[in-house]
């Protein structure tokens, strides 16, 4: 136990050290300068990036969670494998291939990027919704029915609260992945911080590369943190997994 703690501490602080070292190196070489010299472009790209993530995630949320709930209803159980396999299929196609496919249908631009990101966010959200609801002890549902709860009451009072942790974890995973993947939107002319990253790659300009990549990373970390806070607020006290209490 103690040994594990020491190792985890060592690992953690070495990582912090490396990150600090990286920033020191990057700042010394003026790699972040574009953020300040071209600050209006930078904020424009960030805004685009956030729009891509926001629109695609909200769309996915609106489809995946109700979909997961629907599929776990008794009368729709039989449809589960069809839906699950379809959603899985969406995930197995490489992201660039999805983008390429979308270009041939929707052309290039914001819409195409949003659509591809939307497809990508569906699976984690959907799968965690289904898994969360499925993991609820059958006896609880039986007790609820036996006490005279109606199906809607069982869903909102028992199933969703107890699945909330799993569902929100899925949402968090999807959104954080989405922030990273949104950098690819540049490829289809969707804008976002990917513009600087790809420019940096093409011009061998570390400045553009880092001024694009680091904000994306920080954004992902920040959003992850925010969503964890949200989880803590939403998930009922008694349904949290033991280590978080």
């Amino acid at each position: 136990m103690n040994k594990k703690k020491v190792i985890s501490l060592v690992v953690r602080y070495s990582v912090y050290g490396l990150v600090a070292l990286f920033f020191f190196w990057a700042i010394r070489n003026h790699y972040f300068d574009y953020i300040f010299t071209e600050s209006s472009t930078f904020w424009h790209l960030i805004k685009q990036h956030l729009q891509l993530v926001l629109v695609s995630s909200v769309l996915a949320l609106l489809i995946a969670i109700p979909g997961g709930i629907l599929v776990t209803r008794k009368s729709f159980r039989r449809a589960e494998w069809v839906v699950s396999n379809t959603v899985n299929l969406g995930q197995t196609i490489p992201s660039l291939a999805v983008l390429a496919l979308m270009i041939s249908i929707l052309g290039i631009g914001f819409k195409t990027a949003v659509f591809a990101l939307f497809i990508y966010s569906l699976l984690p959200m959907y799968r965690n919704t289904v898994a969360g609801i499925d993991s609820i002890d059958e006896n609880l549902i039986d007790a609820a029915r036996g006490m005279g709860m109606k199906p809607v009451q069982i869903l909102f009072r028992i199933e969703l609260p107890n699945a909330a942790y799993s569902i929100l974890a899925g949402v968090r995973t999807a959104i954080v992945l989405n922030i990273g993947t949104a950098a690819l939107a540049y490829v289809v002319g969707g804008g976002g911080l990917g513009v600087w990253i790809f420019t940096g790659i093409q011009l061998f300009d570390n400045g553009y590369l880092i001024s694009g990549a680091i904000p994306v990373t920080l954004l992902a970390i920040f959003v992850d943190y925010l969503l964890r806070l949200l989880e803590r607020l939403i998930v009922p006290e008694g349904s949290k997994p033991p280590q978080e209490m």
């Binding site: 036996g146 006490m147 005279g148």
Partner: protein
């Protein structure tokens, strides 16, 4: 009052789980559904609150056909306790307990009062436990909460599906006693599923013994032990059914029937036993040869007489063969 009228349950593929069962649970009685696994006892129980449909025949509750009632309303009027307690992890103890009152639209104040009253009944502090979550309680406490949750809206009928089956023997016995005490106060009509013969004998006013979905015998525990109707019942209760039946009687019963022997003050090695002790434990004590003389006393410590294996044997003789009670000399 619950009446089963040729109640039958057939699953798809012609598997019959319950075959034309007929019996009546009188108001305020505990009837235990007993039998080997797969005998249909749980299915029969779940047919009462329509968690299982009724294929043929009917079940009436207080004279009303259960199928004619609104399913949700019916369930809210029937307390339901299951083995794994079924407490909802996302709700506090108070919220869990007050689910049915909440569904029925009780006011906040009514719910609070009811919660504290119920907690008092099981000897737990409502203040202390109300805001806690189920996982913070011990197994025994959780099961107690499961029981009072079923009692919350004061339903006339309760269904209990092996409610104490998951508890360790010592706690189980304690909760059984506690529940019998509560039942004395609340006098619910209770259907209770068990696979434990001792539990059935202890809890039941009457036992329904089932095999393969058919009713084998419906009787009081002592009748069933003493006068089994067929070979299956005889075998089910086992060779020691006479000893088991003794747990249904106290020394008081024996004293009323045939009296006690006189005690001898000259014998130094004596033990005293309360007159409310059951005969099964008394016999064990006698067989253990714990003392040369066992003296029976009442609650105030007055010595009423002595008890011997002989007397217990005579009592059994009377009970089992229904022979006229012998009169002890010198009583």
């Amino acid at each position: 009052m619950i009446t089963f009228d040729k109640t039958t349950k057939t699953y798809e593929g012609n598997v019959t789980a319950v075959k034309g069962v007929d019996f009546t649970v009188e108001k305020g009685e505990i009837v235990v559904l007993l039998g080997p696994s797969g005998c249909g006892k749980t299915t029969l129980l779940r047919m009462v609150n329509r968690l299982e449909s009724i294929s043929e025949g009917k079940i009436t509750i207080d004279g009303q056909d259960s199928m004619s009632l609104n399913q949700t309303a019916l369930r809210r009027k029937i307390g339901y306790v299951i083995q794994s307690n079924g407490l909802f992890p996302n709700m506090t103890i108070e919220e869990n307990t007050m689910i049915v009152p909440d569904l029925l639209g009780w006011s906040k104040k009514e719910k609070k009062e009811r919660f504290h009253k119920l907690m008092e009944m099981i000897g737990l502090s409502g203040e202390k436990f109300g805001k806690r979550y189920p996982h913070e309680l011990s197994g025994g406490q959780q099961q107690r909460i499961g029981v009072i949750r079923a009692l919350a809206a004061d339903p006339p009928v309760m269904l209990m599906d092996e409610p104490f089956g998951a508890l360790d023997p010592i706690i189980r016995e304690k909760i059984q006693d506690e529940f019998l005490q509560i039942q004395k106060e609340v006098k619910k009509t209770i259907l209770f599923v068990s696979h434990d013969i001792d539990e059935a004998i202890k809890m039941a006013d009457k036992i329904v013994l089932l095999r393969g979905g058919e009713l084998m015998q419906y009787d009081t525990p002592s009748e069933m032990l003493v006068r089994p109707k067929n070979e299956f019942v005889r075998e089910f209760f086992g060779k020691d059914r006479a000893i088991k039946s003794l747990s249904l009687h106290t020394i008081e019963d024996l004293r009323d029937m045939i009296g006690l022997a006189e005690f001898d003050d000259a014998i130094a090695d004596t033990k005293t036993i309360n007159v409310n002790h059951d005969l099964r434990n008394t016999l064990s004590m006698l067989l253990n040869q714990e003392a040369d003389q066992v003296i029976v006393s009442d609650d105030d410590g007055n010595k009423l007489g002595a008890i011997t294996i002989d007397i217990v044997q005579q009592y059994l003789h009377y009970e089992i063969k229904a022979k006229p009670a012998p009169v002890l000399e010198g009583v």
